[in-house]
C-alpha cells in the first residue's frame, strides 16, 4: 500500500503529472475575481470565503479524471486489480494520494490567496480549518466519481456532472464555516456538519468506489 501511495505521489510530482495544475487554476480564479466584481475591498472581503471555497472545489475537480483514467489507459488498473491488494484499499490509497497532491497544496496556499481577496484577519483560521477538514471529502467523493466513469472515452464531462451535485453539501458547510469565521460569528455547528460529511464519506464511499470499479473492469 505504501508503494502505491509513493508511486502515485511520484507520478504526480514528475513532469506531466499535473501537480501544479490545480494550484495554478486556483490562483487564476482568485486573481480574476477582483477584475470581474471591481476593486471594492468591502465587497471582496464579503464574498472572499465563498470564492475561495469555490476556487478550491473547482481546482480539485480539474484533476479528478486523472485518478483512474491514466492507470486504465496503460493497463496498470487491470494489473493492480489482480495484485494482492483489496480494491477498497486501492481506492482509499488513490483518494489519499489525490488529497496529498491536490488538497493539501490548496489548503496551504489558501492564506496567500485570501490576502489577495482581502479576507478579514479573523477569517484566516476558520478558512484554513474548513479547507483542511473539507478537502478530504472532495477527494473521496471525486474518487467515487472517477471510479464510475473509468473506461469511458472523454469521461471528464460526465464526471463533473456526476460529482458536482455530490459536492454541494461540502461546499455549503465549508463556505459557511469560512463566512461565519470572517464575520466573527460562532462557526461550531457548520464545522461539525462539515466534519460529519468528511468522515462519513471516508468511511462509506471507498466501498462504493471499489464495487463500481470492479463492475467497470469487467
Amino acid at each position: 500500500m505504501k508503494a502505491l501511495l509513493l508511486r502515485d505521489i511520484r507520478l504526480a510530482v514528475r513532469a506531466g503529472g499535473g501537480f501544479g495544475l490545480g494550484l495554478a487554476f486556483f490562483l487564476i480564479v482568485v486573481v480574476l475575481v477582483p477584475f470581474g466584481v471591481g476593486p471594492d475591498s468591502g465587497l471582496l472581503a464579503r464574498i472572499a470565503p465563498g470564492i475561495l471555497w469555490l476556487g478550491a472545489l473547482l481546482s480539485c475537480l480539474l484533476s479528478l479524471d486523472r485518478i483512474f483514467a491514466l492507470d486504465w489507459e496503460d493497463g496498470s488498473l487491470d494489473l493492480l486489480a489482480t495484485a494482492p491488494l483489496p480494491m477498497e484499499a486501492l481506492v482509499s490509497i488513490k483518494s489519499l494520494a489525490h488529497w496529498l497532491t491536490t488538497g493539501v497544496p490548496l489548503v496551504l496556499a489558501s492564506p496567500l490567496f485570501a490576502l489577495l481577496l482581502s479576507l478579514p484577519s479573523q477569517g484566516y483560521a476558520p478558512l484554513l480549518m474548513s479547507l483542511a477538514l473539507g478537502t478530504p471529502a472532495l477527494s473521496v467523493i471525486g474518487t467515487f466519481g472517477a471510479a464510475l466513469t473509468v473506461g469511458l472515452k472523454r469521461g471528464g464531462l460526465l464526471l463533473s456532472l456526476l460529482v458536482l451535485p455530490l459536492y454541494v453539501p461540502t461546499l455549503i458547510f465549508g463556505a459557511e464555516v469560512a463566512r461565519r469565521g470572517a464575520m466573527g460569528l460562532d462557526f461550531t455547528v457548520p464545522l461539525a456538519m462539515l466534519a460529519g460529511i468528511t468522515f462519513g464519506a471516508i468511511a462509506l464511499l471507498p466501498f462504493a468506489s471499489a464495487a463500481v470499479l470492479r463492475v467497470n473492469l469487467r
Binding site: 508503494a3 502505491l4 507520478l11 514528475r14 496503460d74 493497463g75 487491470d78 493492480l80 486489480a81 489482480t82
Partner: protein
C-alpha cells in the same frame, strides 16, 4: 498444485462467446490457447485471472495464484525501468528485481525513463513484471507482440525457468515459442451457440 477449469462459459460485453471449456494444468505445464481473432481467448484469460466473473463453470484456483499480463503493459512512462519494476515487487511483496532484469536483458536500460523505450523493450519490461510477481500461474495474453526473435527466445527461456520451478503458464499466442512440451487447446470447438431468442424478428414471421 493444479489448475482445473470446468465447464467455463464466458461472455464479452454481455454476449456469450465460448462455453463448456474444460482443461487442467499441473505444476510445470504450459497450455497455449489457439483460435481465430475474436473467438474469445482474451475473455477466457481475463476470466481465469479473476478480472471478470464467468457466466457458468468454475476456475479451480483462486485469483491470488494468478499473475496476468494483458495487451497493455501497465508501464508508467515518467518512471525509470527500475522504478516500474520495484513498484510491482513492492506491491506483490517479493524481493529483488535483479533476476527479472537479467531474464529479459533489461539491466543496461534500468535507469532509463520507461517512456523512452521502444515497443519491444516496453514489452520486455511488461513481461519482466511476471517474474517479479512470484505467483505460480502466469496468464499471458499475446505475450510476444512486438518482440524480436532474440527477445522471443528470452521469453521462452523465462517461461521454461518458471515451469521448471513448478509454475504454470496459460497463454494465447500464435507464434511458435519452441515450447515443445506445451499443450495446445483450440478454442474454436467451444464457440457458444446463438441463443434461441436471438432471432427476435424471426419469431414474428
Amino acid at each position: 498444485m493444479e489448475l482445473t477449469v470446468t465447464g467455463l462459459s464466458v461472455a464479452r460485453s454481455g454476449i456469450p462467446v465460448l462455453e463448456g471449456i474444460d482443461f487442467s494444468l499441473q505444476s510445470g505445464e504450459a497450455l497455449i490457447l489457439r483460435g481465430p481473432n475474436g473467438v474469445g481467448k482474451t475473455t477466457v484469460l481475463r476470466t481465469v485471472a479473476g478480472l471478470q466473473p464467468p457466466l457458468a463453470g468454475k476456475v479451480g484456483l483462486e485469483r491470488e495464484a494468478m499473475a496476468y499480463a494483458g495487451h497493455a503493459d501497465g508501464i508508467k512512462s515518467t518512471l525509470t525501468v527500475r522504478e516500474n519494476l520495484e513498484f510491482w515487487a513492492d506491491v506483490f511483496g517479493t524481493g529483488s528485481i535483479d533476476p527479472a532484469l537479467g531474464a529479459f536483458d533489461l539491466a543496461a536500460l534500468s535507469d532509463r525513463a520507461a517512456g523512452g523505450l521502444s515497443a519491444g523493450q516496453k514489452r520486455r519490461l511488461g513481461l519482466a513484471r511476471m517474474v517479479v510477481t512470484g505467483r505460480p500461474v502466469w496468464v499471458l495474453d499475446e505475450p510476444t507482440v512486438s518482440l524480436d526473435t532474440t527477445a522471443v527466445g528470452l521469453f521462452a527461456q523465462a517461461v521454461r525457468g518458471h515451469l521448471a520451478a513448478g509454475g504454470m503458464a496459460l497463454m494465447a499466442t500464435h507464434i511458435d515459442l519452441g515450447l515443445t512440451e506445451a499443450h495446445v487447446l483450440d478454442m474454436a470447438p467451444f464457440r457458444a451457440k446463438a441463443p434461441a431468442h436471438d432471432d427476435f424478428d424471426g419469431s414474428f414471421l
